[in-house]
């Protein structure tokens, strides 16, 4: 039942000692991780968005500029000028100065016949009337193609513009090298895996992709196409290998091209991963430390409590023993008292016998004889034994609490040697040398000699026990002294070279029921009773001790007035 109690106690202490620090600990780590994650994600996505935004802007303005170049040509020259190869040569040369991206420049009439051309190929006279781009430009007035390899196996795209004056229409078309373009997009690099590329509506690469994907190839990833016309869309998507990527996309060129910026998620959130790893490490180490400490402290607390409970039990048992002892003492006192009555009768009878005997002898009725002598001796012996019984009963009664306190002047010069002589025999047996240092000019003190004797004998016995424990039966020294202390006070000391008392026990030596002796050997009452006696006499009892060196008890008493 007791063990069960301690187990419950241990559980509740352990529980609170672990929970109380662990909850804030985990909360702090969790909150920190959450905010760190959010901030990293936000900043990563923001930087991807910024890249998308910047590149869209650049590509859009590149396209716009090229278109503006052509529009400028279209509106600065009439059809006849443009149909003149010399003029077109000049225009093309100027155009190439404007932007080296221009590869060629051609003029078409409304039937789609290539009427004039400046560039690396001979294309004049070809009919493009059936081509889709031509139909488109005739219808819309403006056309930008996807990137294609065309006749020349070089990636390029075309921009075509139509002008119509007085029912007559013509078209100017320029081929634009995409190297510029490609470079621009390919240069984008975020972390290790961050890249950018352009797809057309069918998912064909319009620029090379660094992580694999040639121009004009089909994108294996099937990137989600955003539905909105404008703005940047971000999302997560797995590639064919199952790696997750962060994507930021936006439409270019009137929803015909899609600018894609993507980065492997593991790469984008690398810092996050190392933070997460650190957090787990801290959690494991910190949590382990908390739990370990909790176990250690709980163990200590519970052990301390067990020890205190055990001490309490021991104290309780001592109390029971002491009260039983007191009961026995009371009983003994009662018995001693009752025995005094028959002793009184016996004493009277014996007295009477003596008187009668001497009467008879006087009258001469008894002759002196051996027998008579023996009878007298026998009667004397009875008297002796009655006195002996009486001494015993009185000793028991003196021990009992009801013994009277007789206060008289005590001359310590005689008194202390008398008391020492009572223990001398015992000390000699244990090989203890007793030295007395009693000052000749010591004043008498007032008190009950029996009680003072009890105090001194108690101290002597304790000292002898301590000496025997340390030295066995040789080398013991007991030093008893007394002398005036000034201020009308007298000091008695009892000093031994025994085992000594540990500092923690030293505080408790005068407490009732405190004993270091084995169970049943000491009541723990001796010194506390001594303390009480000295206190009643108006004195002070003190102790000083060093473990392993010896103990000194000092009694400070007022001298008799």
């Amino acid at each position: 039942m007791k063990e069960h109690h301690y187990a419950g106690l241990r559980r509740s202490i352990l529980g609170s000692m672990i929970l109380v620090p662990v909850i804030p600990f985990v909360l702090i780590l969790g909150i920190g991780y959450y905010y760190f994650t959010t901030s990293i994600e936000t900043s990563t996505i923001a930087s991807m968005k910024r890249i998308v935004e910047d590149h869209r802007h650049m590509i859009d303005s590149f396209l716009r500029e090229r278109r503006a170049n052509l529009e400028f040509i279209l509106h600065s020259y009439n059809y006849d000028d443009l149909a003149d190869p010399a003029v077109l040569y000049n225009i093309f040369t100027n155009l190439q100065k404007e932007s080296s991206a221009f590869v060629d420049l051609g003029i078409f009439n409304e039937e789609g016949i290539h009427v004039n051309y400046q560039g690396p190929y001979k294309l004049v006279g070809r009919d493009y009337g059936k081509e889709n781009w031509f139909k488109e430009v005739m219808k819309e007035g403006y056309y930008v193609s996807d990137i294609f390899l065309g006749f020349r196996r070089i990636p390029h795209f075309v921009i075509a513009l139509k002008r119509e004056v007085a029912g007559k229409a013509w078209v100017v078309r320029a081929t634009i090298d995409t190297y510029m373009f490609n470079d621009l997009v390919k240069k984008v690099r975020i972390g290790k895996t961050g890249e950018a590329y352009i797809l057309n509506v069918e998912g064909i690469f319009q620029t090379e992709r660094r992580s694999g994907g040639n121009l004009m190839d089909k994108d294996p990833e099937n990137v989600k196409y955003p539905s909105s016309h404008s703005g940047i869309v971000t999302f997560l998507q797995k590639d064919e290998r199952g790696d997750e990527y962060c994507y930021a996309t936006t439409w270019l060129k009137d929803k015909k091209w899609l600018l894609v910026v993507r980065q492997e998620k593991a790469d984008a959130f690398r810092a996050l991963r190392s933070a997460g790893f650190l957090i787990i490490l801290i959690t494991v180490i910190g949590g382990g430390a908390i739990i370990g400490l909790a176990f250690y402290l709980t163990g200590r607390i519970v052990r301390r409590m067990q020890r205190m409970d055990a001490e309490k039990d021991e104290l309780g048992q001592q109390l029971v023993r002491a009260s039983r002892l007191a009961e026995i003492g009371e009983m003994a006192t009662g018995i001693a008292h009752e025995i005094n009555n028959p002793l009184q009768v016996m004493k009277s009878e014996q007295g009477l016998m003596e008187v009668i005997l001497s009467d008879l002898k006087e009258k001469g009725e008894l002759k002196e004889s051996e027998d008579l002598k023996e009878l007298e001796d026998s009667i004397d012996q009875i008297k002796l034994q009655i006195d002996r019984c009486s001494k015993i009963t009185h000793a028991v009664l003196r021990f009992g609490r009801e013994s009277e306190v007789v206060s008289t002047d005590i001359d310590l010069r005689d008194f202390i040697p008398d008391v020492i002589s009572m223990v001398e025999n015992k000390a000699n047996v244990e090989g203890i040398t007793i030295t007395e240092e009693i000052s000749a000019d010591i004043s008498p003190i007032k008190g009950d000699p029996g009680q003072l004797q009890q105090v001194l004998i108690n101290l002597f016995n304790n000292a002898i026990d301590a000496i025997v424990e340390r030295h066995g039966s040789e080398g013991g020294k007991l030093n008893v002294g007394a002398g005036p202390k000034g201020d009308g006070r007298v000091e008695i000391y009892v000093k031994d070279n025994g085992v000594g008392i540990s500092p923690e026990n030293l505080k408790k030596v005068f407490s009732p029921f405190f004993t270091t002796k084995p169970v049943g050997k000491g009541t723990g009452l001796g010194l506390s009773v001594c303390y009480g006696i000295i206190d009643n006499m108006g004195g002070v009892m003190e102790v000083s001790s060093e473990k392993g060196a010896g103990t000194k008890f000092t009694i400070d008493l007022p001298a008799a007035a």
């Binding site: 009752e338 009555n341 007295g351 009477l352 009467d359 009664l397």
Partner: protein, 149 residues
């Protein structure tokens, strides 16, 4: 000189009879009583000087008896006889007017010594009373006549 008359009061009859024999042999006039009531009764009929009174008796105990004696016969000297454990009672007895106390088992010689002392004390007291009465007689005979009436 008047002969001392003493009375032993104790519930132990054998003690009473033996001690009486002893004291009688030593030439004392001794009465005995086994209870407080009997003691008071005997005091009424006899002119007893010293009472040796056991503290612990059934019925009326020593202290009660002592108080009753002192109330009725203030001139009687009482010596308390106590088993050691009732020394407090003996002290209480001294406070209530007992002359002295003896602890059991007491030697008959001690008993005689203390009884003699008590008797002497009583005689001194009687002597003083006599002197005082004589003085007042010298002063006003009529007052003495009135006192004795």
């Amino acid at each position: 000189m008047e002969q001392m008359k003493m009375m032993l009061v104790d519930d132990e009859e054998r003690f009473l009879s033996t001690t009486k024999k002893l004291l009688t042999k030593k030439g004392y006039d001794v009465f005995i009583a086994t209870s407080g009531a009997e003691a008071l009764e005997k005091l009424r009929t006899q002119n007893i000087h010293v009472v040796i009174l056991d503290v612990k008796m059934p019925g009326m105990d020593g202290i009660e008896t002592l108080k009753a004696i002192k109330r009725t016969f203030p001139m009687v000297e009482v010596i308390m006889l106590t088993g050691h454990a009732t020394v407090e009672s003996a002290v209480e007895g001294l406070h209530s007017g007992a002359t002295d106390y003896l602890t059991k088992p007491t030697d008959v010689n001690d008993l005689i010594t203390k009884a003699e002392e008590a008797f002497e004390k009583r005689q001194r007291l009687e002597e003083k009373i006599r002197v005082a009465q004589t003085r007042s007689f010298m002063k006003s005979p009529r007052e003495i006549i009135r006192d004795t009436e």
